[in-house]
Symmetry: C2
Subunit: 318 residues, 2 copies
């Protein structure tokens, strides 16, 4: 099958690309290289079944041409920067919502019927039900990032109804693992490289968050695509556990053999719009036979281990 | 107080403008006149407290300049055409979502803190709870119109969190009354003018819908703005009843004294993405002391009566 993968040079996109190629598929990858790294595509490029097209999903004509012949779209390109949304208020709208509608239009014009979309558990806003199921009460958004993602979900659903697409919408917790290049583990690791004796922590360290290892995440997506039969299939993707930021700091420090003084910024939120508790009910995807292989602790340590041995190009970039 | 009203020449916008002026406020009205009618602003223009600025909310600079000095924004400009969304797939995104983000950006730049937004009960998709409350289960969208409206809601909420705005989001049923210029009563009236002996009906006539008289709708909005204290205030606006399309046809025909043959297109939906049952739980707005003065039947008849005596300019346009 010919897959079209947007954001193919990113953390999740490049891992998805490698897995699709390993399963014997053809992949056309599309990325504007604004945050993705060509380094992550070196393996794919050697496969003989991968084509890279540098382009921006905001350029509808380029996108539409690039998608010709595709049978399935993994739309993983996004502005994944949750924390700094208010620093550039239109970026989430453009890169997450408008880009997604461009992908949908390109699909309509190319008669591609199936799409998998990387959404986020933060679309539940400050959820009132934990673990939070897919049909949780109508959410109120707290960040531009989540607003742009629920908007993209909504347009995907409307295209399914109006133009007979089939969609797989995945609401991720934070994803960890190889090629991870932003987020709290990354921030803490970088800080401890510079000053192992202290650590700045956003919020009070008590924020409760969920994490999932990237290969477990991809296992779940590939399983859903193979088995979920509805026109619109929506799945939370996470582990059946959560941890406090303080737990994660403990694991990271133990692994690195450091004992920094923890300097808390304070407050129950890490930043404006941060959700102090994210814990998703993943029984829907589990009912298809999936379960994660790594615990949150194992995923955190594997990520630190990856960062310790990160390629020079990644080190230079960060 | 100085109100800025987008869509001021439209059905609801012009009625809101008149009510604000009657209450002694200043109004700056903004409209691109794509569907609004200057005719609807004749009274406002005579008031001495109304300024009209012709402009498009998609032109951010024009919008931002026009909003200078405003204290409250009624954002009522929208593509209100639910039925033909799939005929021009990007129109809802542009006119409802992107235009709303432009309004929010203009507010941020002008330091305007309060916004009332006209959303829609169709954001509940095919609701599973009736009457449908504001915190109904996480909806799945069925139309580009509703997708664009829930997207606008989401960005408004994120701006409230990120930039300390205060918002009033109103999810309307279909609104009827003076200056009504599209929808089923309008379509049926126009048909019966041309051929009183038969009537084309989309769907099977059994679709159950709710309606609200425009002045009752405005009463509710003005009350909410005066009394609801939260940062984000979300209200369904409708009557505590619904009717079948067939009921409405009966009232219209009785009023006009015609007995057309009803020619049903068939199917339980009027068009792709149509919701066959809309009935909102309006107990939240009622708890503030509001109740509608007109029943659905009275609102339908008042609308037909308005169309019978519609000004020449409206007749010519349609």
């Amino acid at each position: 099958m010919l897959f079209f993968v947007t954001g193919c040079a990113g953390f999740i996109g490049s891992n998805v690309t490698d897995r699709l190629l390993a399963a014997g598929h053809e992949v056309v990858g599309f990325d504007n290289l604004s945050t993705g790294l060509p380094l992550f595509l070196e393996g794919a490029s050697r496969s003989g079944h991968f084509t890279f097209i540098e382009g921006d999903a905001l350029h509808a004509a380029t996108l539409t041409r690039a998608m010709a012949g595709a049978e399935f779209v993994f739309h993983l390109a996004a502005n994944a920067d949750v924390r700094f949304g208010t620093h550039h208020p239109k970026k989430d709208l453009e890169q997450n919502t408008i880009a997604t509608v461009n992908v949908l239009e390109a699909m309509r014009l190319n008669r591609v019927r199936r799409i998998a979309y990387a959404s986020t558990g933060s679309v539940y806003g400050e959820a009132q039900v934990f673990p939070t199921p897919e049909n949780a009460p109508f959410p109120v958004q707290t960040s531009l990032y989540a607003a742009s993602k629920i908007s993209a979900e909504a347009f995907i659903e409307a295209y399914c109804e109006g133009f007979d697409l089939q969609a797989y919408i995945f609401r991720f917790v934070s994803i960890l693992g190889e090629r991870y290049t932003h987020g709290h583990v990354f921030d803490f690791y970088k800080q401890l490289q510079v000053h192992p004796d202290y650590l700045h922590v956003l919020g009070n360290g008590k924020q409760r968050k969920s994490y999932l290892y990237v290969q477990d995440c991809i296992d779940a997506m590939l399983l859903a695509i193979a088995r979920a039969p509805q026109k619109i299939n929506i799945f939370n993707l996470g582990t059946d556990e959560y941890c406090e930021v303080d737990d994660s700091i403990g694991w990271i420090c133990e692994h690195l053999g450091v004992k920094p003084e923890r300097r808390y910024q304070g407050g129950e939120r890490g930043w404006i719009g941060d959700n102090p508790f994210i814990f998703l009910d993943c029984s829907a995807i589990r009912s298809l036979g999936w379960q994660p292989k790594l615990t949150i602790r194992e995923a955190v340590i594997r990520t630190v281990n990856y960062l310790q041995h990160a390629p020079a190009a990644l080190e230079a970039r960060t």
